[in-house]
Symmetry: C2
Amino acid sequence: MIRFYAPDAADTGRLPESDSGHAVRVLRLRAGDELQAVDGRGHVLTCRLADENPRGAAVDIVGIADEPPVWVGSLTVMVAPTKQMERMEWMLEKLVEIGIDRFVPVRCARSERKEIKTERLTRIAVSAMKQSLKATLPVIDDMTPLAKAVATLADGCQKFVGYCDDAIERRLLARTLQSCRDTAILIGPEGDFTPDEIAMLINSGFVPVTLGDNRLRTETAALVGADTFHIVGQLAGINS
Amino acid sequence: MIRFYAPDAADTGRLPESDSGHAVRVLRLRAGDELQAVDGRGHVLTCRLADENPRGAAVDIVGIADEPPVWVGSLTVMVAPTKQMERMEWMLEKLVEIGIDRFVPVRCARSERKEIKTERLTRIAVSAMKQSLKATLPVIDDMTPLAKAVATLADGCQKFVGYCDDAIERRLLARTLQSCRDTAILIGPEGDFTPDEIAMLINSGFVPVTLGDNRLRTETAALVGADTFHIVGQLAGINS
């Protein structure tokens, strides 16, 4: 089943250009054909194609269904992007498949990458959302300095930071994370956080954690962190 | 810290060609310099470079330390490889980082890829082993027909198959997998298993499972499966 992404179809009555071309030119849908679209905000729209304009196909919306999230508690993943952009791109694809609510690329003192193209990340997230049959698009923040990113987290959110230095006591994420709560997981740059950054994070309520005894690359750590959130929820009988 | 891979150094007294070039030409190590190597069988060798031959540098082994595995129970991951080889390659890299004992590419009736280069997979596994500071290289099987692969699993191994069809009752992997036991996790092709294959698997003791309500690509499912093994072990207080 192909699902289109049409964030504004309810207002404009049209598919966006990219999805119109795909529907009309690639899949050769014709006026009168039915298709499904998601708006990225948790709704699945059943539409009937009204014309075959590949730049913005008109659709009649014949049904709207809510698609509730499959997990309880929101999950924010914050990562200091690696130098190799390719690693960040597949990481984001996998994070969206596994299920996150928000992704924040953070700029740290030792970040190897100081800039990132939000637009490109969003395109990857849209594609992964469609492919994994979700109706909700995670929020993708612009690259944000660490302290500023930390300040955006809501009160009551449990906050974890993956940290490699043995000098600070760290807990195992799987045994520390509480299911069913809003959660933020922060993964630092390949050169790790500076002592000042770690002090600031602990002051801000972040719990230093490890993900186990296996040394993981930045992008693998982010994935394992998100997966831990879901598995702990599944084991509590909350998420499925 | 750089770790070299020298599977035969204890017998031959030399690093293999690839690692010799890296040591002598790239890192410019000189005779008398110390280096660490792993043999892929759980040993870390402390060596002193005896010459600077970039085709096979001679080493004196000055110490051998055991590096015990960080998890209990062996983990075999069996996957029907996807058409896009790139996806398989990063999956294997991530599986080695997260920790597996054996990887088996399986050929199923609906497999999109019928052949795979074991040598290339092994190179990726070696590189991921070195990068994630492990001393043990997972066994990488050649592409194996499904029934034959299943027959290689030891008695007493708990066996799970990720299956997408609602027609068969499936359990949630995280709630079904027992920690501390030898485990095999099988992920099928993008077109799923045939009914005959599923019947054969169930007959062979495989438990059909889901990994949760999120639809995952083949390579993501393999990763989440392996991660579930480790997290369940961590929560039982066995693995760390």
